[in-house]
Amino acid sequence: MADLIFDPDVHGELFSAYLDGQLTPAEVIVVSELLDGSGEAIQEFLALRRVRTSLRLLPEFEVPAALLPDGHLGDRLSAYLDGELVTIEHRRVTKHLVDCSDCRAELQELDRARIAVRSLPGVDTTVTEEIAATPPLHHGRRRIVAGGLGAAAAAALLVGLAVGGGSDPAFVLEDLATHHVARASAEPGFAVLPAAFEVSAP
């Protein structure tokens, strides 16, 4: 067993790693030998240990609450509306929306603001970002007088009845048609497949 001469430049690093528990067994033996023999080595070791302890005892701060998710959706709503969220995230946001009326209300507001920014030809509107913050503009509507389906046909559209024993499902037939057409209007086929206000004509 040769005597090791302590060299702070060479061996100091071993002491640091020793303190961190990151030495190989062979290196541990070297450190033990050094600490066994040399007062200088011990001084160095203790000094390093003191620095390390000071660092490790530094107080750990709490994260300011504002940075942590509050369980609500915040700026993810915009991304959601833009269809920018990937599937997993999209599903999570949707799940949250189903349960959280606050976020749903926020979604509605956000959606409303986006709609208000649409501008159409012939309408004298100045569209700016400020529209999102102000009440939407009202435009006049031309009455469209249509022929075709008369009052009798319209009356044939019935509200569904929940009849019978057991649990009463509540289907509103009118809603079935409108819900389907509304959803289908997001599909490319909507452009060529005629939508019409469905009146039952048995």
Partner: protein, 311 residues
């Protein structure tokens, strides 16, 4: 690539196959649908459905701009498009399907150009939409606006199932076609799909939405046609709900059916669950789709018999 469809027609199972290359031009149909979506036009359109000898026709006013259409007749006017719908009447009901997922056009569809033609004195050309080798749909496209000025959807036997035709047409819209915002949109949120087929006869389950009072709307699409299946626990007296009943049998099962100018409704009760399907799909697709869902079974038949005898 072999494309096979199974059709269930009156109990007879027919296999129709096309062996060969993938139908080309599927992309062009998607392109045309996109163009048609952006077309600017207005006018009046007749829409009709013929099925099993029944005919249902309607005429609607339409204004179409930037993917939105204001459609209606009489007091029933609505602005629809992009997953939103708003009734332009005092009820002001408005729905929004936010973040609706898109489905790709099924590979069974291809498109081939037909020849030039005319509609209402305007130049147009024909687009033939094929499905697995047979002509499913014909679209007459207005040359200058790309608007679909006439369409025909064919049943398997080649007869016209649904048609539409512009009877008045102009390439402008009224100045007041605008989105007002008097009523908030009811946001439809998608929920998980438990127990529903993910793929029904070529239609993909895209989303399931929660309807009020515990019902669900499952939306299926094949990129061209689409339908929604509404489900709720319990039993619904469909016969009472529909004024006049149209018997409809598929593969020995009985359903109720309503034929509308632009859509079909098919309803039934399966044990424990009641179903309503609303969509614009052709009858052979419908039959294949119904095959994928719980059947009415003897339960439905018994209730009908009971109602007939004692109702």
């Amino acid at each position: 690539m072999i494309i096979r469809r199974v059709f269930v027609i009156g109990g007879l199972v027919a296999m129709i196959g096309v062996i060969g290359t993938v139908p080309a031009l599927a992309d062009d149909l998607a392109d045309y649908l996109a163009d048609a979506g952006e077309a600017v036009y207005s006018g009046r359109r007749v829409v009709g459905t013929t099925w099993d000898g029944f005919e249902s026709i309607g005429v609607v006013e339409i204004q179409h701009l930037e993917g939105m259409a204001t459609v209606g007749s009489g007091s029933s006017l609505a602005t629809i498009g992009g997953g939103r719908m708003r009734f332009d009447d005092p009820s002001g009901a408005a729905l929004s399907y936010v973040g609706a997922a898109q489905v790709d056009l099924e590979e069974r569809y291809g498109v081939s150009p037909g020849g030039p033609t005319e509609h209402l004195g305007r130049s147009a050309h024909v687009l033939d939409v094929t499905e697995a080798g047979f002509l499913r749909m014909r679209i007459v496209v207005d040359e200058s606006s790309s608007a679909p000025v006439a369409t025909e959807v064919y049943a398997l036997d080649g007869s016209v199932f649904r048609y539409s035709s512009m009877i008045e047409f102009s390439v402008s819209v009224g100045p007041e076609m605008a989105m007002t915002d008097e009523h908030p949109y009811e946001m439809m949120l998608s929920v998980g799909a438990a127990g529903l087929p993910i793929d029904a006869a070529g239609y993909q389950l895209v989303d399931v939405y929660a309807e009020p009072q515990g019902a669900n709307q499952a939306f299926y699409s094949d990129g061209l046609f689409s339908f929604s299946v509404f489900t709720a626990t319990g039993h619904m007296d469909w016969q009472a709900a529909i004024d006049g009943e149209l018997p409809y049998a598929v593969d020995g099962q009985s359903y109720w059916r309503v034929i509308n100018p632009a859509s079909l409704w098919v309803m039934w009760n399966a044990p424990g669950t009641t179903f309503a399907l609303v969509g614009d799909l052709p009858p052979d697709h419908l039959e294949a789709v119904l095959d994928e869902f719980p059947k009415p079974g003897i339960d439905g038949w018994m209730k009908r018999m009971w109602n007939r005898l004692f109702g």
